[in-house]
Structure formats: C-alpha cells, structure tokens
C-alpha cells in the first residue's frame, strides 16, 4: 500500500483542523508497519482516511491511496464497501465500544461474511468458530452465542480481531489495539498479531503511541507529528539512528523498564492544528531549531536508502 500526500481536514466551527496534512508513506507487503505519534497527531485519522470512514465534519481533501494498484480514494462508495472488511480490516482501540452489545459474538462475526462473501449460514458459522479458535478464545462454540458483556476486555479485543480477520483481508489496521489492556494481556494480543502476520502473510499497520510496542513488534516505523510525517525508516534505524529531533526527543523522554536514567522532557505541548506553527511544526519544541525552521516547511527527504526524514538540519546531526 502506498499513501501519497494524503490530506484530511476537519471543517469545524472554530476553523479548519488540518488533522492529516500531506502524509506519504509506503507499507511493504507482509510486514508490520508502525505508525507512531501522540494523541492528535493524526495517526488514527490517517487510518480512517485509507478506509474512507472519516467521520464528519472531516473530509479527505487530497492525495492518493494506492492499494493493489487501485487508488482507493477514486473508487465509488459501493466499490469501497467491498474493499472494507473484505480486503482491508480494522481493529479499533476500544473493544468495548467497537462491539455491538445487542448482538451475539457469532452474529457480529457472520454478518461480515454474509455481507462480503456468498456463503451459507452454516459455512459462515463454521468459519467464525474456526477464527475464534485462531485468535485464542477458549470454547469457541460456546462463545459463539455469548454477548460482548460476558467477555473480559482481552477476550473482547480478540473477538474484534477475529471480526476484522474473518473475510481474510490482506491488510489490517490495528489502532492502539492494546492501549486499554493490562500488560500481560497486551503481550498475548501482540503475540497474536505477530502470528497472524506469519501464518496468513498479512500486512499489518499498527498504530500506537508506545515506543516499546513499536520496538518489539514492528519492522518499519513512520513517526507522525502534528499531522505530518517527521521520519520513516525500518525499526532498528529509527531507534538506533534517529535523524529527526522529534524522534530523538521522544526516545529520550520515555521511561524504560530495563534501566533508570535521566528523562529529558520535551518542553511545551502538542500544537493546536487549527493554527499550527509555521514552517516545521516541531520548531517551538525543538532543541535545534534555527530561523529557517520557523519559515520553511521541511520536505520529506530520503537521507539514506529507505530512511526518510523531514528536517532542515538532518545533515548536521551526527
């Protein structure tokens, strides 16, 4: 999948919020690609834009999303509906609200199949039970008839994953799939995502703010700040050789389990996207900012093969 100069704006009464403002990145087939950023950075809106389910007053105003050599943004609504669920799945952050409390787990799973593929009720049920088993739900036949409230948070997230997978999409968006879960359950869910990638040759875009989750599960990372891409590279490079000051600051600001060290806080706050800072959007918080950073928007340049960075000064670091 290739995202090219995607722009999604929210037209609110207070003004135009440029939630996603010219994002470009490539997701390699069969990989787990991380989208990392803070809340309000536009990582979720980017995923919603690819799926074309941006809520009002949001609107995709420009760009291209090429998936399987078709531009998703140029598809008719009806054609897009076929892509959604069928070829691209999505898991949301909050499993409690993403499952409908009024329907059984089973009916929510088979609904997807009946919408997308021509299968009989019986086949759909068999497939659903098989999938519940794959995502590690004990007693899947029994759980098929359960309601969401009868399951724990971790189990609900597994059901949500099963629902996203049931039509066997080749691309899966996972939006903070573990943020509401306890660490031991988070570990189970992340293992499950890795298994899915391996066993089904699935491409996964993992959206998170947790650098630890990124380091342990992804192969490629795109760092988003205030609706724009700061840096994009393979995971090792991002952590060992970050070229953007935001990436570097973020890594210095996160506490680590394996050692105690001085935390270097990033001063200030995430900017307001109605009136974002001029030039480089990170410049008010950047320790290396110079005059040009205030005036000119830095372009996303390829610093090394496969390592993209949007900073005026990347050449002078290290």
């Amino acid at each position: 999948m290739t995202v090219d100069n995607l722009q999604t704006y929210f037209f609110t009464e207070a003004g135009v919020v440029k939630a996603v403002d010219g994002i470009s990145f490539k997701v390699k087939q069969g990989s787990i690609h991380g989208l990392v950023g803070e809340s309000g950075s536009g990582k979720t809106v980017a995923a919603l834009s690819v799926m074309r389910i941006v809520p009002r007053p949001g609107k995709i105003v420009g760009g291209r999303v090429v998936f399987d050599s078709t531009d998703l943004l140029s598809l008719k609504d009806q054609e897009m509906r076929k892509v959604r669920g069928n070829r691209i799945g999505m898991i949301f952050q909050d499993p409690i609200s993403s499952l409908d409390p009024l329907f059984t787990i089973g009916s929510q799973l088979t609904e997807v199949l009946e919408q997308n593929k021509e299968v009989s009720k019986k086949e759909a049920k068999e497939e659903a039970i098989k999938l519940l088993e794959i995502v590690g739900i004990p007693e899947p036949e029994k759980r098929f008839n359960s309601y969401p409230h009868e399951l724990s948070g971790g189990m609900k997230q597994r059901v949500a994953i099963a629902r996203a997978l049931i039509a066997r999409p080749s691309l899966l968006f996972a939006d903070e799939p573990t943020t509401n879960l306890d660490v031991t359950i988070q570990a189970q869910v992340l293992e499950l995502l890795k298994d899915l990638k391996k066993n089904f040759d699935m491409t996964i875009v993992l959206i998170t703010h947790d650098m630890g989750v990124i380091a342990e599960t992804t192969e490629y990372v795109t760092v988003i700040y205030a609706g724009q891409i700061s840096e994009s590279a393979d995971t090792r490079t991002i952590f060992l050789n970050p070229k953007h000051p935001y990436t570097e600051s973020l890594l210095k600001a996160v506490p680590r389990l394996d050692k105690r060290r001085e935390l270097v806080a990033i001063p200030g706050n995430v900017p307001n996207l109605i009136d974002p800072p001029s030039g480089c959007r990170f410049h008010p918080r950047c320790p290396y900012a110079i005059d040009i950073c205030k005036e000119k928007v830095p372009l996303l340049e390829e610093a090394e093969s496969g390592h993209f960075v949007a900073c005026h000064r990347w050449r002078s670091f290290r």
């Binding site: 660490v183 570990a187 630890g212 952590f239 389990l257 105690r260 001063p267």
Partner: protein
C-alpha cells in the same frame, strides 16, 4: 500475608528512615448482592484488598503496581479513609487514621487531611470546570482555615510556581489548559496545604508520551525540594522504575512481592512479578526480552482461587500451591515475597 508477618516486614523498612505511613494487615471487602423482590440477598464479597501491610518512610516513594482490578486504588482509598476498612489499621505518623476519622477531634481530622493528599488519574475530570485555577488552589484554605486569610494568595502563587506555571495562569479556567498543564494544577492543589504524603493514582497514564516525562521529573524534583513521600499507583512498570524507591506488586488484592526497585526489577522472586516484567515491551529493538506469556486472565476477586491466588496461571505451580497459602517471607535486604518456591529463583 497475615498479621504476624507484619512485624518483621515493618522492621525491614524502618532501617531506611523514619516511618511516615504504616499500613497493617489492611482488609477491604465489598459485599455483592443479588437483587431480590423483597430484599437483597448477600451472595458473596469482593476481596478487593486482602491483608495488605506496608510502610512508607519520609521522603520515600513506594509504588503499588499490578493489573486493573488488583486493588491498588482501593488500597489508596482506604488509606485516606475515603472508604472505611473492613479490618486492619493505618497509622500516619503514629496516629491511627481510621480511629481519628471515626471519633477523633475535628482538629486532628483536618490535620490528617492536610498531611495526606491525592492526585487523580484524569486531570480532565478532577478539576471543576467552573472554577478558575486560583479558586481551585484557594479552596483548600477556605475549607481548612488553618492560616490567616492574608497568606492564602501568596501560598497559591507559590504552589503555581512550584509546578512551573506562570502567575497569569491563575485567572484561567481548566479548559484552557492541556492535559499536562492540568495535571500540574492538580499537583499544585495537592501541594498548597504542605502535605507530607501524596498518593498519586496513575498520574501520568492519561497524558501524552512527550508530557509524561515532564510530570515525572516534576514529581521527583518536588520530592527533593520538599521532602515529600509518595505512594505511586501505576500499572506502567517503566515509569515505576523511574520514580520509585521501593515497589509492592499486587495480585488479586494481595501483595505478592515487595522490595527495593532495582533489586526487584533485576531479580524478581515471584513468578507473577517475573511475568509482569517480561510482558513490558522495551523501546529498544536490540534487546530481545524473553517473554513469559501467562495463560488466561486475572480471576474474579469475588471467589479468588484458594491458597496461592496466582496458582491457576503460574508456570511453576505444584500441588502445595493449591493447598497451602504461601507466607510472606523475607528473602534478605527487605525483599519480601509470598511464594513457596522463591528460593528457586534467588
């Protein structure tokens, strides 16, 4: 953990410094009712906190860690007498907290309240949206009236300065601030009364990653400057390592392990602590941690498993774990653990 272990355990902590807070054999059960036509029937109880003992020294940070539902927040509420304990005692500077609140002098009650303050998880709901920052920070004085009115204003601005906010922020309302700034205001509100102990319940969990470091650094800085003690409640083991001197690990209402932070992180003796620590992803792709994946989920605290509560999920469980409750033993250097097989991991 039972009352008899409390003594040895407290001794272990006393070597550090003067004890400020002592929690002895604290129990909090909540009744569970079944709705009936005529009257409700009591069908069981939630073992939210089950015989928990620990102490906090002056100037120390003790972290209470564990997964959701393990009883860490309830422990905090009972310490502050926001919930009455089922049994057990809490001493603050030698004063019995529960007795003071139930039938002590009004003066003593207010003094206790001033000495122990709470910072909540979500600064979006813990600050009254209709009050300016100044009003929020002055309200404690209006309630306590322990210092002359002329001094209130100075104290408010002093607290704002302590949390590195500007004087002009005082005239604004909470909605004008970001999450990190709101949490600073909440910390300032806890500080205006010059408390000795601050109980911080997940103070950075709802904040952005880039803001968390600001608040953690602020808390550590305040501790140095004012000699504060913290009870830091969190499920985020990375921030706990950063901020706390000692850590108590809770599972289903019980403390299963307690020790100095570095020792506990480097040599965890309880299988639950080991699994918990191994589950945390480390932001460094070059360290490949060996992950212990625990089967299943935390059981219901209504009818917790007998004997060792962790045995249904424990990879090392033996017959004895199902039948005999492990004692809370001292593994040396104040490192306490409740497991039959801790020697295997030492």
């Amino acid at each position: 953990m039972h009352a008899t272990d409390g003594g040895a355990f407290v001794k272990g902590c006393l070597t550090l410094a003067e004890t400020l807070l002592e929690v002895k054999d604290l129990v909090k059960y909540f009744d569970v009712f079944q709705k009936g036509i005529v009257r409700r029937k009591r069908v069981g109880e939630v073992h939210a906190v089950d015989h928990v003992s620990f102490s906090v020294a002056k100037g120390e940070t003790l972290a209470l860690v564990g997964e959701s539902g393990c009883g860490k927040t309830t422990t905090a509420k009972v310490i502050l007498n926001l919930e009455p304990p089922t049994s057990g005692e809490v001493f603050f500077e030698g004063m019995d907290v529960y007795k003071t609140f139930s039938n002590g002098r009004a003066d003593d009650k207010l003094k206790l309240r001033r000495s122990m303050q709470l910072v909540f998880q979500n600064p979006y709901s813990s600050l009254d949206p209709r009050m300016t920052v100044y009003d929020i920070l002055e309200e404690p004085f209006r309630i306590h009236r322990h210092i002359p009115r002329e001094q209130w204003k100075d104290k408010v601005y002093e607290a704002l300065d302590l949390v590195t906010m500007e004087p002009y922020h005082a005239e604004r309302y909470p909605h004008e601030f970001s999450g990190g700034q709101r949490q600073r205001i909440a910390i300032a509100r806890a500080l205006v009364l010059d408390p000795k102990l601050i109980i911080a319940d997940e103070p950075v969990s709802s904040l952005d990653v880039s803001i968390r470091a600001q608040i953690l650094n602020l808390m550590m800085d305040l501790q140095k400057r004012k000699g504060l003690s913290y009870v830091y409640i969190s499920h985020d083991l990375s921030s706990v390592r950063q901020i706390s001197h000692r850590v108590a690990v809770m599972y289903l209402g019980e403390i299963v392990e307690l020790g100095y932070t570095d020792e506990l992180y480097e040599k965890p003796l309880h299988p639950y602590t080991q699994a918990l620590l191994s589950a945390v992803p480390i932001p460094d792709p070059t360290t490949k941690s060996k992950r212990i994946i625990l089967p299943g989920e935390v059981p219901s605290p209504i009818n917790p498993p007998p004997a060792c509560r962790f045995h249904p999920r424990c990879p090392y469980a033996q017959e004895i774990c199902r039948t005999v409750k492990p004692q809370f033993e001292d593994a040396g250097n104040g490192h306490m653990v409740a497991c039959h097989f801790w020697k295997k991991f030492a």
